[in-house]
């Protein structure tokens, strides 16, 4: 029962987990705050910061707008029209989620090496981010009723106005939530924009950190970036406002009319096909073309490739273990108890969702240097960064898999003579285990694709697949990068796609 008061030891553990994950960030903020007003105003007054800020905001805005423009019509076509092979199209629409942005950028650069600047970054990021709009809007359209549209039509409004009056208010929250995801994604984006040479806050942070005499400047930039992310989250929340719960699950069966495409069919099929084709088909195609070139195969260093793969696996599995250990008390609290403390703890746990990887990386650099210098540039700190970054995924998995264990199972176990802790191990944890393991695996495969924090924190000489792919691509060695990209797709992108629930969310109820 959700009304029970949370046991104190569990709350303490959850608070400790929250503290562990947020201390590095707090440290970063404190460090910036204590760096002295003079230094701060000087850094903020520099020419570069307004320009970087402008670039970042422009890119985030442009990508969000184009994603909404592509994603909402795509979602409509997938749910409300008589498309052939809908299930297949729905899966295809989710595919770009599996491709890390830098891999898409790699594919396009390998094909057109002159791509760079705002347009290039906007183009590639739009391709990668469209599913963040398409999937939630399609889900909202599936549960939305078109009955209101019908009423509007009978009252004399045309089809477009009827849609705006009837269906749009029902999918507006999903569109806003998707836009928030896109916006945060672009703010924290590093790999693709760096490869496409468009200067934004994240790339400047990386640069400032690289020129190690100026690390305070990197910290200030990181704080600006976090402030920007916080602003976006607040803006989304206030835009969503009270409309949020106005159209909650209708009673019983949802009816909607299915539209015949008729002469719009060619345009419709083009729209649903174009994004996946450009975001996934093109880069993967280029990748395999490069991979199979004689030159690539001749230069391939199998030992290095295997070493990078092994490093990637070891680091990401370590990260997954840390994420699950940290997430466990928070997930248990969130699944089984309610109350203000529980809500606060849970939202702190989800904090990393809005945190750019490069900020987490940077804050851990500072924190480890200041507190435990022995750990600086060790695999432990990197795995820990993965743990912090992807803890929200682990919390989500733990929460939902525990939520699916009926409390009546625990009741029965107690009456059969098992104590609270025995019941937890023999029943609750046992029944939730597959879900928690799947969550851990999801964290691992997501961590494999992580780039910015990895670049900052990796131990010298330890290269992962993502780092190798990135450094070779930025040196325009597209052929040499191809094997790393291929292995990354095989070990991370494909399992991530099947685990992430993106496919499940996409295909739900389309039969």
């Amino acid at each position: 029962m959700a009304t029970r008061r949370a046991p104190r030891p569990l709350v303490v553990l959850a608070v400790v987990a929250c503290a562990i994950t947020s201390i590095p960030l707090l440290y970063l903020v404190v460090r910036v705050g204590s760096s002295g007003l003079d230094e701060l105003t000087m850094a903020l007054g520099r020419q570069r910061i307004p320009q970087l800020l402008g670039n970042t905001v422009a890119l985030a805005t442009a990508v969000t707008i184009s994603c909404v423009a592509l994603g909402v019509p795509t979602a409509f076509l997938l749910t409300r029209t008589r498309l052939r092979a809908t299930t297949l199209w729905v899966i295809v629409a989710a595919l770009p989620l599996a491709i890390p942005s830098y891999l898409a950028a790699y594919g396009w650069l390998a094909a057109i090496p002159t791509m760079n600047g705002f347009i290039a970054a906007w183009f590639v990021l739009t391709l990668v981010c469209v599913p963040y709009i398409t999937l939630p809007v399609a889900a909202a359209l599936r549960v939305a009723t078109s009955g209101l549209d019908d009423v509007a039509r009978t009252l004399g409004y045309g089809p477009v106005r009827s849609f705006l009056l009837g269906t749009w208010p029902q999918i507006r929250p999903a569109t806003l939530a998707g836009s928030l995801l896109v916006c945060l994604y672009v703010l924290s984006e590093f790999g693709a924009v760096a490869l496409l040479r468009y200067p934004v806050l994240t790339t400047a942070i990386n640069q400032a950190y690289g020129s190690s005499f100026n690390r305070n400047y990197a910290a200030i930039l990181a704080t600006v970036l976090v402030a920007l992310a916080v602003l976006v989250v607040i803006a989304e929340q206030s835009a969503r406002g009270r409309a949020k719960r106005r159209f909650t699950a209708g009673s019983g069966v949802v009816r909607h009319s299915v539209i015949r495409l008729g002469r719009w069919a060619p345009a419709s099929y083009s729209l649903v096909a174009i994004v996946p084709l450009l975001a996934v088909g093109m880069p993967v195609g280029v990748l395999f073309y490069r991979l199979l070139q004689a030159e690539t195969l001749r230069e391939l260093n199998v030992t290095e490739l295997l070493a990078a793969t092994a490093n990637t696996l070891a680091l990401s599995i370590g990260g997954a273990v840390i994420a699950v250990v940290l997430a466990l008390p928070i997930g248990v609290l969130a699944a089984r108890y309610s109350g203000r403390i529980v809500r606060v703890i849970e939202s702190v746990g989800y904090l990393a969702l809005g945190l750019p990887g490069i900020v987490v990386g940077l804050s851990l650099v500072f924190f480890s240097l200041a507190v435990v210098p022995a750990l600086y540039q060790t695999a432990i700190v990197l795995a820990f960064a993965y743990g912090v970054l992807f803890m929200p995924k682990a919390i989500g998995a733990i929460r939902s898999s525990l939520g699916q264990v009926p409390t009546s199972l625990e009741d029965v176990s107690r009456t059969l003579g098992y104590s609270t802790s025995q019941t937890w191990w023999l029943v609750t944890a046992r029944v939730a285990r597959p879900g928690i393991l799947a969550g851990a695996l999801l964290v691992a495969v997501t961590a494999m694709k992580e780039l910015p924090a990895t670049l900052l924190l990796r131990p010298t000489g330890t290269d992962t697949l993502a780092v190798e792919l990135w450094s070779r691509t930025s040196a325009s060695a597209y052929g040499a990068a191809a094997p790393y990209a291929a292995v990354l797709i095989v070990v991370a992108a494909i399992p991530a796609f099947f685990l992430s629930g993106a496919r499940r969310a996409a295909t739900e109820d389309t039969a």
Partner: protein
């Protein structure tokens, strides 16, 4: 054999009182049905007896064992009370036999992990328990492969595994279809009786309560309004509310005079039902009549003249909606043979003794 007794049990969920000074004595070996509308606290009462919910105050004892007293609380795992929840709650990672073996586990001192359960799942006692509910052949099935009725039987066998003196059943038949439901409750009744186990059954279905239980406790808003055998609860409900809840009732205002009440339906000998002393003559009371006590006749002089207003036909009998000439509305249950059509002029008479309540 031991009596379960609750005295002055109070339970709060958060700020609100869910049970208010509940007193209940369950005779050993009997089956008690707790019946009431949803939200009346009947499931909370069951959970409190099982120890899954803490009482704020009051005593609960089973024979000489104190389960709850002065705010002290015996953990549910130490109470040895069987629990059959509404959703059956079979452990999804265990087979049918392993579910039952899980029940044998803790008190047998054995572990409840999957491996030891697999070993114990073919113990003679497990087979015996499954045979009791007629499911030996399904021992190796997984819970997902069972029908609703089968799942409830397994849950019962598992609850019996701890050799409880008392089994609590929380609306175990609610999710079943009516035919299966009737069959299963007769079976459960017989099984508890042969095992000599006391049972408490929570249900919101008053006909289920009346048909299956030795005693019925009627609850509303956290209080037990009446406890008694089914005929006494139906035949002599403690309040008009109970009368309405356990069956159809016609309640009319009337005037008390010497053990009889005069109302729109004429004079009827009536019994005073209240803890208050019988009223003086001429005092207004509430008269309760069961619809089957109202005899409808055509073309007779005796009785109150009325018109049939509506007919609701159910097959084995029918309920006639009547409007007396003074405008009073009531209803009468008649056999299908006595069916009349709407608009018929009739006379209405009361057969037998009625009940009178304070207004």
């Amino acid at each position: 054999m031991n009596t379960l007794s609750l005295s002055n049990v109070n339970v709060n969920l958060g700020e609100s009182a869910v049970l208010r000074s509940v007193n209940l004595d369950v005779p050993p070996g009997s089956l008690v049905a707790i019946v009431g509308p949803s939200g009346c606290g009947k499931t909370t009462l069951l959970r409190t007896i099982a120890g899954l919910q803490r009482a704020r105050s009051g005593d609960i004892r089973l024979g000489q064992r104190m389960l709850t007293t002065h705010g002290l609380h015996l953990a549910p795992e130490k109470r040895q009370i069987g629990w059959v929840p509404q959703d059956a709650a079979l452990f999804p990672h265990l087979t049918v036999a392993e579910n039952v073996a899980f029940g044998l586990g803790a008190r047998g001192g054995a572990a409840g992990d999957s491996r030891s359960l697999r070993k114990r799942s073919h113990d003679a006692r497990v087979t015996e328990l499954l045979a009791l509910v007629g499911l030996e052949s399904l021992a190796d099935r997984s819970p997902a492969q069972l029908s609703g009725g089968q799942a409830q039987r397994v849950a019962l066998a598992r609850a019996l595994a701890v050799s409880p003196q008392l089994v609590l059943l929380d609306e175990p038949f609610a999710a079943l279809d009516p035919v299966l439901r009737a069959e299963l409750r007769i079976e459960v009744r017989a099984l508890l009786r042969t095992q000599g186990v006391t049972g408490i059954l929570v249900t919101h279905d008053q006909s289920e309560a009346l048909s299956v239980a030795d005693y019925v406790a009627v609850m509303n808003e956290g209080e037990i309004l009446q406890f008694g055998t089914p005929p006494s609860v139906y035949g002599r409900p403690a309040t008009p509310w109970v009368a309405h809840f356990v069956g159809d009732a016609v309640v009319l205002p009337g005037m008390w005079s010497h053990g009889s009440v005069s109302s729109a339906l004429g004079n009827a000998s009536s019994e005073w039902v209240s803890t208050l002393p019988a009223p003086a003559d001429g005092v207004t009371v509430s008269l309760m009549v069961r619809p089957e006590q109202l005899v409808v006749a055509v073309g007779e002089d005796h009785g109150a003249p009325a018109t049939v207003n509506s007919v609701s036909y159910t097959g084995h009998d029918a309920v006639l909606g009547l409007v007396l000439d003074d405008g009073t509305v009531c209803e009468s249950r008649v056999t299908a043979a006595g069916l009349l059509s709407a608009g018929t002029r009739v006379t209405v008479q009361i057969a037998g003794t009625c009940l009178a309540y304070p207004v």
